[in-house]
Symmetry: C2
Subunit: 649 residues, 2 copies
C-alpha cells in the first residue's frame, strides 16, 4: 500500500478551549506537574514514597543508599519530564523548567560512561545488567527516557537529554544488533520500539528505526528468547506473579507480523502495536500493515469495552479471549487505554482512515478521563464498568478494583501516562500531511500551522452533544489551496454541511468529509447532524452484557451512580426504546456535560430478608439519572454501573 | 442451655440403598480407594506425582531423598486411611486392609522418638519444627493423623495408629499448654481441634478435649500470634500468596467466641466452627454456643450459595462480605462444603434442631456430589454456578475455575475429603441419643442400632422427589419405648403422616416430627407431602443474582448445560411462574434423577456481528432442559449455568 505521511502539528500551536477538556489540560500544568514533582522528590505528605529522584542521586554517586521502589521507577521522572515538555511547549508550568533542567543534569550524571542509564541496575546489581529481560524493564525504561528526551528537545530546543538518550540508544544498538548472546534479545515490556521511532524522526538517524524494527523482528521467533530468559533467572526473580509467565503475556508467542489476536498484558500489547504501525509506515512493510489491521480489528471488535477500556483479566492485567468482557473484575488499565489511543492514532496516520479515531475517542472520552479525578490529584489504574465498594477488599480476587481514586501508587505508571496524554492532547485533535489538515476529534480548540507555505488557522467550535453542530473557522494568509479533512464520527447521524453559508455535499473519503480550501482570508465550515442519547447493546457473545443496555451520548458512555440513584444498582431496568432526556449538568462535575434522565424501573424480587426464596417479581417506576462515565466518582463515592438490565418484550 | 448428647450410630450398621448415593458410596470402595492408593504410591499413570508414601519412607530412614510435594502431603495418606476405615467398617475394600496396616507401620516408623510425625519437617528442615504456624501445617497434619487413627480404631479395633496419634497428641499437649514461647500458639490451619475432640471421645482422655479448647481460647487473642509468626518468617516463606496475609484469613482476628461473621479461608473457618460446636457441647460453654449460632446464621443466611457452596473469592479461597456471591469466579471449594456439612451436623447435635440439616443437605446434594465425577476418577475443587469454558484460562484471574473435573491435584485435599464424606455418609442420615433415633436425610438406607437395650431396625425408603413420599419400616426386638424424630425438610410442603396405616398428627419439635415407638415387631410410618420443582430468587442484595431465577427440586439445585441447551446460556430467560416438568433422567447420568423441562425464551439482542450496536431485543420460545447440578459435566463438557434471567412483568 502507499504509505501516508500524516503527522501531528507542533503542540505549541494548538490551544484546547473545550470546557471539559481544558479543565483537565489546565490541571496538568497547575496541579499534576507540581504534585508529581513533590512525589518524585518524596516530599508530598500522606503519599507513598517513590524514591525516584533519590535513586538518581544515589546512581550519580551523590547520595548513599540502595535503589528503592519498583525496578522501573526511573520512568516516573522521564514521564514527568515528557509531560512538562508538552506544558512548556504551550507556555505553561514555566516555573518548573529549572527543575527539569536540574533533573536532566542529574540523569546525565547518573549515566554510566558507556551510555547506560538505569538506577536500579547501576546501584543495586550492576553485575546483572542485561540479564533479566522478562522482568528487568531496562529497555522499557530506556524507551521512556528517549520519549522524554525527544519531547523536551521539541519543546525547548535543549539537546542535553537528547544527547543522553542518543548515547544510551547507541549503546543499545551495538549491544543488540551485533549478534552473539543478544542476537534474539527483545524487551520483556515493549516501549523502546516506539520511542526509537520517535528518536529516529527527531534526529534523522535511520539506525534507531532499524533497531526498533530489529526488536520487532526477533520477537516471538523460534529462539523463545523471553521464556528461556525467565527460566535462566531460576528462583532469583523480581515479580512472583511471573510464575504463570507465558509467551502470550509479553506478545512473544508469535512474530508480531504473524499475530492475529490482541494477547497478554494490555499495555505491553498497545505499545508494541503502536511501534508496529510506525515501523510498517516507515518501511512500507505490507505484512506488518496487515498484521496491524488484523490486531486492531480483533482488539476493537472483540476485546474492547464500550468505554474503550481493554484488559479483561484483573490478574496480570491482560487480554483473555474474544467477547470476554466482565464488568466488575476486569483490569481496563488507564495506561492501556492511553496505549489504545496511541495505536489508533498511528493506524490513522498509516492508512489515512478516520474510523480508527472512533476507538481513540471512546478511550479518551471515557476510560482515560475517568482515570483522573476532577481535582487532578487522584487516579484510577483499574476502570471497572460496575463497582460495588463493599466487595473491593484487599486479600481477595477483587483487591485490584478500587472504588475510589487513589493518590499515587508504588507502580506509578497511570498518573504519569494520563498526564502526558492530556498535556499533548492536540496530537489527537489535529493532524496534517503535505496538503491536508485533518480534524480528528471534536474538542473545541484552535490550531495555527503551516501548510504548503501558507500560514493557516483553524478555530474549531463544537456543540456536538448539545445541538449536533460544529463550526470551523478557517483562516489562511495565502490563496495556496489545501484540503481540510474532517472526520465524521460514527455517532453523528445525517451530517449536512454549510460552507460560507452555502450547503455543500463534500466527498466522503476514508471517513473524512473532504473540503477544498483555496482562498485566503476567513471562511466558515459548519457541520450539522444529529447526536442523541442512544441505548447500546452488546454482541450476543458478550456474556457479561447479555440482556443489558448501556447509554451513550456521542462518544460519551454514561453511567448510573449511587449518588443519583440510590444503592442496589443491579436491580435497575430500562427499556432500550425509552428516551434519555438531557438535563442540567450535575453539580460539582467539571465541564458542562448534561446529565441524562431516564424513566426506568426498579426490581423487587419479593424474597425479603431471606437469602433465597420464591420469586415474586415486581417492577416499580423510578426516574434514573446518568452522568458521564468519565466523571464518575467525583461526588459522594458509592456504587456505579454502566450496563442496566433491559426490559425485554 | 441444656447440652444434647446426640451422636452418630456406628457406620457399619448403616447401609445406603438410594440409587444415586449408593452409586457414589460404592465408587469410593471400588474406585477411589484403589485409585488414590496408586496416586499415593506414585504409580497411577498420567497423574501428578504425590510423593506421599515416598516421603514417609524417607522420614522412616528407609529411602534416600528429600520431601517433595506440598508441606501437608502427609494428610493425603491419613485421609486415605480414614476413608478406608469407613469402607472396612461396612465390609468393603477389605483387600486394602493389609496395605493400610503396612502404611500404619510405616507411619509409626516415621514417628520420631518424642512422638513427632511430619515428613516435611522431619526430612527437610528438622530445625524448623514448630516455627512456622501460619504456613507449616504441622498441627493441621496432626489433626488428620488423629482423625484417621480414631476411624481406623473404630473400624477394626486395631490400636496401633491410635497409639501413634496419642503419642503425638501427648507431645503437642505438653508443648502447647506449658506456657513459655508457645503460650499463645495456635494452628495456622485449623483441623486439630475437631480431631482432638474425636480423640477425647474415643479414648475418654479429657486432656485432648482440653487441648482443643485451649487452641480455641488462645486464638485471636491480643498476642496476635499468627501475624507475628508470619512476620518472623521474613522472606523464608512457603506460600508466596501469603504476602496478603491478614488475621481474618485464618479466623484469628477475634477470639472465636466473639466472632460474628464467617471470615477468611472457608475450609479453615468450617473446621474451626465445627470444633467450636464440639467444644461448646462438651463444656456446656454458652458463649461459644451463641457464637456458633451467630456464625451459622451469618454463613447460611448471607454468605452461602444456593448450592451450599461457600467462599466467594477465588483468590485465597475465602469469604468476602455479606451477599457477595458471584457465580463464575468464586471458589466454592468442595472441601469447604464438606466442612459446612460437618459444622451443620455438629450444630444439630448441639441443639437438637433439625433445621441445621437443611444447609447440610444443600451442600451434600449439590456441591459435594458435584465435586466428584460419576465415574469417581475426577474432581472439582472449585464449584462454579456458571461456567464458560473459553475464559477458564491459565495465567488469568479465572485460572482457578476448571471447566472439567481434574484427575488429581498437587494439593489433593478435595478428592480425599469427598471420599471420606461419602464413605461415612450414614453419619449424616441417622443420629441417636439416649432415647431417640433421628432421621436427618432422606437418602434411602437401612439402620440397625441399639436403643435403651433394644435392637431396633429402620428401613428408610424415600421417593421424595418423585412423589413426595417417605416410608419408614421400624423394627424392634423389645417393647422398650423410644422416640423416632424425623426431620421435616424445608422444601416438603403439607406433610401428612400415616402410622401403621392410620393418620396421625405428630408433635413437631425443633423441625422434627416426633413419633413415639413403644412396641416390638415391625411398624410402618409414612410421610407424604408435596415436593415440586420450584423457582427460587435471591435476596435483593445478592447483586450477581439480581433479576435471576434458579430451579430447585427438593434439595437439588438444577442447572442448564450446553449439552442440552446449546451455547450462549446467559441469553436464556424463563418466567418464575413457568412450570418445570419432570422428565426422564438424562442418559449417562447415575441414579434416576429426573430432568426438568421448562418452556423458556432465548434473547436476540439484534446487534448482529458488531461488538456494540443499537438494541433490538427479541425473545423466541425455546424448550429448556435442566439436570441436577450435582451431576453436571458428566456428559459432553461445555457451558453451564444455574441462574437464568427472569422474564419480569
Amino acid at each position: 500500500m502507499k504509505q501516508k505521511n500524516i503527522h501531528s502539528p507542533a503542540f505549541k500551536r494548538i490551544t484546547v478551549t473545550d470546557p471539559l477538556f481544558s479543565h483537565y489540560t489546565s490541571i496538568v500544568a497547575e496541579k499534576l506537574i507540581p504534585y508529581q514533582w513533590n512525589v518524585l522528590n518524596d516530599c508530598e505528605p500522606d503519599t507513598e514514597k517513590s524514591f525516584c529522584v533519590a535513586n538518581f542521586r544515589i546512581a550519580a554517586g551523590e547520595m548513599e543508599g540502595s535503589h528503592r521502589g519498583m525496578v522501573f521507577s526511573d520512568t516516573d521522572l522521564y514521564k514527568w519530564i515528557e509531560t512538562l515538555a508538552y506544558c512548556l511547549e504551550r507556555g505553561e508550568a514555566l516555573e518548573y523548567k529549572a527543575h527539569a533542567e536540574e533533573m536532566i543534569e542529574l540523569i546525565s550524571r547518573a549515566q554510566e560512561s558507556d551510555g547506560y542509564v538505569n538506577t536500579y541496575f547501576s546501584v543495586n546489581c550492576p553485575d546483572r545488567k542485561w540479564t533479566n529481560f522478562t522482568e528487568g524493564h531496562e529497555l522499557y525504561s530506556a524507551g521512556h527516557l528517549i520519549e522524554a528526551a525527544v519531547a523536551y528537545f521539541h519543546a525547548t530546543g535543549n539537546r542535553h537529554l537528547l544527547e543522553v538518550a542518543c548515547r544510551f540508544a547507541d549503546l543499545i544498538y551495538i549491544k543488540f544488533t551485533s549478534g552473539g548472546e543478544f542476537e534474539n534479545a527483545c524487551p520483556g515490556h515493549q516501549e523502546i520500539e516506539l520511542a526509537l521511532m520517535k528518536l529516529s524522526d527527531c534526529t534523522g538517524e535511520k539506525k534507531y528505526a532499524d533497531l526498533a524494527r530489529h526488536f520487532l523482528a526477533v520477537r516471538g521467533n523460534s529462539s523463545r528468547f523471553l521464556e528461556k530468559n525467565l527460566r535462566d533467572q531460576g528462583r532469583n526473580r523480581i515479580f512472583p506473579e511471573f510464575a504463570d509467565y507465558d509467551a502470550r503475556y509479553a506478545q512473544s508467542h508469535l512474530p508480531p507480523a504473524e499475530q492475529t489476536t490482541a494477547e497478554g498484558h494490555a499495555v505491553r500489547a498497545m505499545y508494541m502495536f503502536s511501534a508496529m504501525a510506525d515501523v510498517a509506515r516507515t518501511y512500507g512493510d505490507d505484512a506488518l500493515v496487515e498484521s496491524c489491521v488484523r490486531l486492531w480489528n480483533n482488539l476493537t471488535q472483540k476485546r474492547m469495552y464500550i468505554t474503550g477500556g481493554i484488559g479483561s483479566s484483573g490478574y496480570l492485567e491482560r487480554f483473555t479471549v474474544d467477547y470476554d468482557l466482565p464488568n466488575d473484575r476486569m483490569y481496563c488499565e488507564s495506561c492501556a487505554s492511553v496505549g489504545l489511543m496511541m495505536f489508533g492514532q498511528r493506524m490513522a496516520a498509516l492508512t489515512g482512515d478516520a474510523t480508527y479515531y472512533d476507538a481513540v475517542e471512546l478511550a479518551l472520552c471515557n476510560t482515560v478521563l475517568a482515570g483522573i479525578a476532577a481535582e487532578g490529584d487522584k487516579y484510577f489504574y483499574v476502570n471497572p464498568l460496575e463497582v460495588w465498594p463493599d466487595n473491593c477488599l484487599t486479600g481477595t480476587s477483587m483487591a485490584h478494583v478500587k472504588p475510589v481514586r487513589q493518590p499515587w501508587f508504588a507502580c506509578a505508571c497511570c498518573p504519569a501516562n494520563i498526564a502526558r496524554t492530556l498535556a499533548s492532547l492536540g496530537q489527537y485533535i489535529y493532524a496534517q500531511d503535505e496538503k491536508s489538515v485533518y480534524i480528528n476529534q471534536y474538542i473545541s480548540s484552535e490550531l495555527c500551522s503551516d501548510v504548503r507555505g501558507a500560514e493557516i488557522s483553524i478555530k474549531l467550535h463544537s456543540d456536538l452533544l448539545t445541538d449536533g453542530k460544529i463550526q470551523i473557522l478557517i483562516g489562511s494568509d495565502k490563496s495556496q489551496p489545501f484540503t481540510l479533512r474532517i472526520r465524521i464520527p460514527s455517532y453523528l447521524k445525517n451530517p449536512a454541511f454549510l460552507f460560507n453559508g452555502k450547503a455543500i455535499t463534500p466527498v466522503i473519503e476514508n471517513g473524512y468529509a473532504v473540503i477544498a480550501i483555496s482562498r485566503e482570508g476567513e471562511q466558515v465550515l459548519e457541520m450539522q447532524g444529529s447526536v442523541a442519547p442512544n441505548w447500546m447493546a452488546a454482541n450476543a457473545k458478550v456474556r457479561a452484557d447479555a440482556g443489558k443496555i448501556a447509554l451513550m451520548y456521542g462518544p460519551y458512555v454514561y453511567c448510573f451512580e449511587e449518588a443519583d440513584n440510590g444503592s442496589g444498582l443491579p436491580l435497575l431496568y430500562a427499556s432500550g426504546s425509552s428516551c434519555a432526556v438531557p438535563d442540567a449538568p450535575a453539580e460539582g462535575l467539571p465541564g458542562s456535560m448534561p446529565t441524562l434522565v431516564v424513566q426506568g424501573k426498579r426490581l423487587d424480587s419479593g424474597v425479603g430478608d431471606a437469602l433465597y426464596g420464591s420469586p415474586s417479581f415486581r417492577l416499580s417506576d423510578v426516574e434514573l439519572k446518568a452522568v458521564p462515565y468519565a466523571l464518575w466518582c467525583n461526588r459522594t463515592p458509592g456504587e456505579m454501573i454502566v450496563w442496566l438490565n433491559a426490559v425485554v418484550p
